[in-house]
Symmetry: C2
Subunit: 324 residues, 2 copies
């Protein structure tokens, strides 16, 4: 059976670990921006992770938090915002008024990314903008880890959830990019909706143990994710039972045994967000398939130093797609 | 008197310190590569420092060392080279056989840049390629700190030295970029040649105390520079006497008193290579004009955190160009 090409693109192998640019290349450029995605594509990290939310007028936009993020959104007066309205309550045109080119260095969030370029005039992109970018011939190696953000406020609104998935799928289909993307979420119900509406597309299951869900300045997944307390070693089994192609655990949640189990079950293991050298080395030792990182160059250097590749390899992909 | 625009582009001021991308953005992308220059231009560091050497067939190429650099040059077989032929003895076509997209992480030089993207298919660019890039309308903010490398083997060959400067000037004139570049060198004799052949262009004087000239894996300037032993405090006076517009000292050589003297003399002070946070903060405290760095985003964040700008400011430039 031939696998979906977006699954193969994330598959590692002997001497191959993939590098996934987290929100583009958050450590170096504004997160979830076209300039960040373009950089990752040019800098040898054509696997892109990013986050999609619907605006009030139904436009899928690329941004992480459900509320405009005060440390990264500047109003037209040039100042970082101090109240955080919901993305879902603003139109696309309203969102375009904010500049996401820089990060407030006085915030706890900003202090996590001291190397990030500080730019002006950068806007929240639409999903469509990124899909058009990867549809260009130069970007034929690009594949997407498309995270559909699940809004806790709509957790029980089945019509809204179906509309969200349908809207994302419509844009993929219109731009001819359904074979270039994984559907990725912390919300397993939403992933079930994806499988119902697009059975031909692979799903990618994000997980984070509640005890580790403490990223400063970011929406937590606790409200919309299954509770994995005490189940760290069972998660791969659960992902496989739900039909996932990828398991995407948080970096502190992986163990030699749960990675081994995931591999036995045929899952691809893509771990986030792997930025520290010690974590990168640990992931290499665990032979995971893909490293999701804010610093693609740092990971490339660490892999290159150990003779590990991250790009191309049609030969490897051909092997990987043969029946076991 | 109106100053040359390339001088004004590097001038700091109250709450303004310029950011200069060293060899593009050496910390993040291959040094002296078009992809590195493009990144710096897009990422808010449109002041570019780089190095020019003549190939055997008289093409000004952009590369740092006089010999092909073993830790960054790969032969067509994909391996890092083990002998280092001279750039000046190879034709442009021969130079194109080497890939400069990655750095050997096992080398002492490679270990200095653990964040650099590791790419394939990147070639030594010509000066002309970069001049064409900055001549594009999108890059109207770009200005060049064009270092003319002085080859010790030709130190006494006046005809060669004149030919080198003439060739560089011809390319600037042909591309209409004479008002976008500083002529920059450690070799004060070569800078005198620049002033003779292009009196309308500003010169920028590089200096490094011999006691600090120990950058691993890089050609030293000792052989072609004046000997500044014991003269750390007199250098600005010497630069001014030689007609320099900029003084560009090594980061460990600047002191509060020599920076103050340079300012009194009307020199612009651009310091290299400023990568460490402690050094960045020291340069901010000294209120130098421009920071030359391998990590433009890191410097931008440090400046932004202290309310200092680095781009634009026609208002400031207008003030700066009024008579004192």
């Amino acid at each position: 059976m031939t696998q979906h090409p977006a699954v193969e693109a994330f598959r590692g192998g002997p001497d191959v670990i993939r590098v996934v640019g987290h929100r583009g290349a958050r450590g170096l450029l504004p997160e979830n921006s076209i300039i960040g995605f373009e950089f990752a594509l040019k800098a040898g990290a054509p696997l892109l992770e990013f986050d999609v939310i619907l605006s009030a007028d139904g436009v899928p936009v690329i941004t992480h938090n459900h509320r405009l993020h005060a440390p990264t959104f500047r109003a037209p007066d040039g100042r970082y915002i101090t109240t955080e309205p919901k993305v879902a309550e603003m139109t696309w045109a309203e969102l375009q008024r904010y500049d996401i080119g820089s990060t407030d260095g006085t915030s706890a969030y900003g202090q996590r990314f001291p190397e990030q370029a500080q730019l002006d005039g950068i806007r929240v992109p639409r999903l469509r903008d990124l899909l058009r970018l990867i549809a260009q011939p130069d970007n034929s190696q690009a594949y997407l880890m498309l995270e559909i953000k699940s809004d806790p406020d709509f957790a029980k609104d089945q019509a809204y959830r179906a509309h969200l998935v349908e809207t994302v799928l419509a844009e993929l289909r219109e731009t001819g990019t359904t074979r270039r993307a994984l559907l990725h979420s912390f919300d397993w119900g939403l992933l079930a909706e994806c499988r119902r509406l697009a059975p031909e597309m692979p799903t990618s299951f994000l997980t984070q143990l509640p005890s580790n869900a403490d990223d400063v300045g970011e929406d937590s997944a606790k409200a919309i994710s299954p509770d994995f307390t005490g189940k760290a070693e069972q998660i791969p089994e659960m992902v496989a039972q739900h039909g996932g192609a990828l398991w995407c655990p948080y970096v502190d949640d992986v163990t030699p045994s749960n990675v081994a189990l995931a591999k036995e079950l045929g899952l691809i293991v893509a771990v986030w967000t792997v930025n520290d050298i010690a974590d990168i080395d640990r992931m290499i030792a665990l032979q995971i398939d893909a490293i999701v990182t804010d610093y693609p160059g740092r990971v490339q250097r660490r892999l290159a130093d150990q003779g590990i590749r991250w790009l191309g390899f049609d030969d490897h992909m051909a092997v990987a797609t043969q029946p076991a």
